[in-house]
Symmetry: C2
Subunit: 462 residues, 2 copies
């Protein structure tokens, strides 16, 4: 494929600059004040798919943010690859912790990225990775090397739970018919240790609200005699884990399939340096469920984390107030065989049951996603592994990740399709954090690898 | 004193309108963006003291907000009353919970205030109460009935711990020489149950900060393996009280003097209706230290309350983040014989000692105040009790309050002066809360009662 490699090489500057343009659009799906920008990002994707050579491209309205659909059918007899990604991004706050503004991308070298990395919200998750597919598609079209039919499904609600994707899949089963889903929204272990994600954790996300008195009270006049909703919330949260950091919700672990000793031993072979891990995030000690390693705790074990908490006076100085209400956002990562709806219900029942009689408690489910494990012996996995072996010069490691891509379960359930998670990010890319970035090396490595996947997949299906 | 009563009656509208003007100045001492308004309030007080007839009035600079000093010496042989109050107010947020803007006072009737109440931040605490003294002084001056020398000390930092008052008292001992301090910054039990506060709780106030990883992390990639500072903070806060709601800090109760059974029995005679209490603040159950009544818990027992908590993502929607830091503001109300500096140190040592090795903890002391009890057999108490008996038609109840006025201990320590706490607010006036208000009845009752205190105090010292 010398031809396509030349094409990529000759267009690198433009490929990079177009991504920077996309990153300048603050398409934060969680915050309604960015609604117009989310639509702008959808229109950008729409335009680029058309330019690249898609036959049909549509901005499909949903009950929330729109879905961009595109396709290029070259031969009904060839296999079809459905490329999924998302053009929405996580909120960028706290803004003050960014070294450069989140929606003004800059390229800087880092220790891990000596060839430079693009710093911007969404650089890695998922605009940078989704745009690799659009540019790989362009390269295949312009060099006449597209080996499969291709369909694009690029949504704008991944960061808020893909609420309207399920209905869209249901209503467009025929249109979306394919042989495999290809997604780049995960990472590799290191730039010299390629890997493919074969497992993902699911997610249950709730917001809780504890109400004590019906108005804020003076802590001198009332303190000691009335329930303080912040203290109560802290006590309730604390009680959710025992001294071994096991989650105390009855039934929480009931459906978890424990890995065998052999499986755990195999997992332990993946390169992982605990000291390096601690150093990279400034910790003197890690912390987690007793009896498991850090790598296991963050991949094969379910978790419970408070993602946000607020209540009372949080301004400058001191205010002696007992708040009327306290709030927290709490999420649970789930492992294969745990069901997010069931876990959300268990949480709701338990959290309500442990509330002292002096307060009122509300639990509002936000969104959930099913955990997933993908097989390593399918043609699609082999096509991806061979593509990476070619471009990285090493066989990729099959790896179980800690994050959640709920759509993997959704595709299986609604469309009956398996997914290959061929992502090119790094854990250190700070996705969902200030100073998110994506390596220039990784961006172009992705653009080079993707056409090989199409080629291999077509051959294996021949 | 028919003359002075006529004067007050004839000037009621102006007395009220002037207070509304003062309430329109947002003199929030805790927030530096209101610095200019705090000064404006000082200038307002300065002008009104001059108009009322003070000989000397000064705006005295301090290391923080200024102190307004004023005096009228009529005869060196007469006793001198030092009137203390504060013109600064608590922050008004959360603004959205106010029915009308906090710095645009309105008068509305309520069930408890059929004659109307003034709704505004500071209406009761303490602008409304301090302004009663200025108008009572004016009335005494204009009717030539001032029976004692009078000095005014109106500060602008009461709501942030009176940080510069101690130095000011030290440096102005001679100027401030007096026989008694008179303060209206407390309340009465009800408009038909007058009372005088004879005990106050002290205060220790700290801010805590828990740091986990050195940056916000993606909860999917890292969740389960790293300390989540919000979960850790919740666990640390929860551990500060045991199942009987006793405070778990070693040595916390060491200096508390337990009341005798007789003292507790006497206290239980004060009118208090638990059902009414719960109803007034919308609770189905009260909560507090085992073995004590609600009234005891909020007055003679020390407490620990979280006044504010924050960390992680608190915006709209869901963000799957593990925060780098979590914060809380925590205050402890102290009872006689507990020392705020000692308690702050105990808290600091304990809170640091219970932190798990995976996090870093900072404890920043904000401000403190000593608890106080005042005698009921002094001429000043008797003068106040008789004045209230005249205007209310009932002997006031001596009452131990739950709030803190740290300056009471400061006056005793620095100037050797006792304080009389003759306040006219109600617990239901929502001080420090949205919709703070002050009864029009209470405002004028104060203006009528204060001159009687001066008359009685002069006679008792004759």
């Amino acid at each position: 494929m010398a031809n396509i490699n030349d094409y990529i090489e000759n267009n690198k500057d433009r490929f990079l600059n177009e991504l920077l343009d996309l990153l300048r659009i603050p398409s934060v799906s969680a915050d309604s004040k960015f609604k117009g920008d989310v639509l702008k990002a959808a229109e950008f994707i729409h335009g680029k798919l058309l330019e690249a050579g898609a036959d049909i491209v549509e901005i499909c309205p949903t009950g929330g943010h729109p879905i961009v659909y595109g396709e290029k059918i070259i031969d009904a007899k060839l296999p079809t690859v459905l490329v999924y990604g998302h053009y929405d991004v996580q909120p960028a706050d706290p803004y003050e912790l960014w070294d450069s503004p989140p929606f003004e991308p800059v390229i800087k070298t880092t220790e891990i990225h000596p060839e430079g990395a693009i710093f911007a919200r969404g650089a890695c998750d998922d605009k940078g990775q989704v745009y690799m597919h659009i540019k790989a598609f362009e390269a295949m079209m312009k060099t006449d090397t597209l080996a499969c039919n291709i369909k694009f499904l690029i949504e704008g609600e991944e960061e808020v739970g893909s609420d309207h994707l399920g209905i869209f899949l249901e209503e467009n089963k025929e249109k979306l018919a394919a042989d495999i889903v290809l997604v780049s929204d995960t990472g590799i272990i290191a730039n010299d240790v390629p890997s493919i994600t074969v497992g993902l954790r699911g997610l249950s996300y709730v917001q809780v609200e504890v109400t004590g008195p019906n108005r804020d009270l003076h802590s001198g006049l009332y303190g000691g005699a009335v329930p303080n909703p912040i203290n109560v919330l802290a006590e309730m949260i604390a009680s959710l884990k025992d001294e071994n950091k096991k989650i105390n919700i009855p039934g929480f672990y009931a459906d978890v399939i424990e890995l065998s000793a052999d499986e755990r031993a195999a997992m332990a072979l993946a390169p992982f340096d605990e000291e390096e891990y601690k150093k990279s995030i400034g910790l003197s000690a890690t912390e987690g469920e007793a009896g498991y390693t850090s790598m296991e705790r963050s991949s094969i074990r379910p978790t419970l984390d408070v993602n946000g908490i607020w209540g009372g006076y949080i301004g400058e100085g001191a205010k002696t107030v007992i708040a009327s209400k306290a709030y927290a956002k709490i999420s649970m990562r789930l492992v294969p065989n745990q069901d997010p709806d069931k876990i959300t219900k268990l949480f709701q029942d338990h959290f309500t049951s442990i509330a002292p009689p002096s307060v009122k408690v509300k639990v509002i489910p936000h969104h959930g996603g099913k955990p997933a494990v993908t097989p390593t012996d399918s043609p699609a996995y082999i096509a991806a592994a061979k593509a990476m072996e070619t471009t990285f010069g090493k066989v990729p490691v099959p790896f179980r990740g800690g994050g959640s891509i709920p759509i993997v379960a959704l595709f299986e359930q609604t469309l009956g399709l398996k997914t290959v998670l061929m992502g090119f990010g790094l854990d250190s890319d700070a996705i969902h954090s200030p100073n998110e970035h994506y390596g220039v090396f990784n961006y172009f490595k992705g653009i080079e690898t993707i056409p090989l996947f199409f080629k291999n997949f077509a051959e294996l299906n021949d």
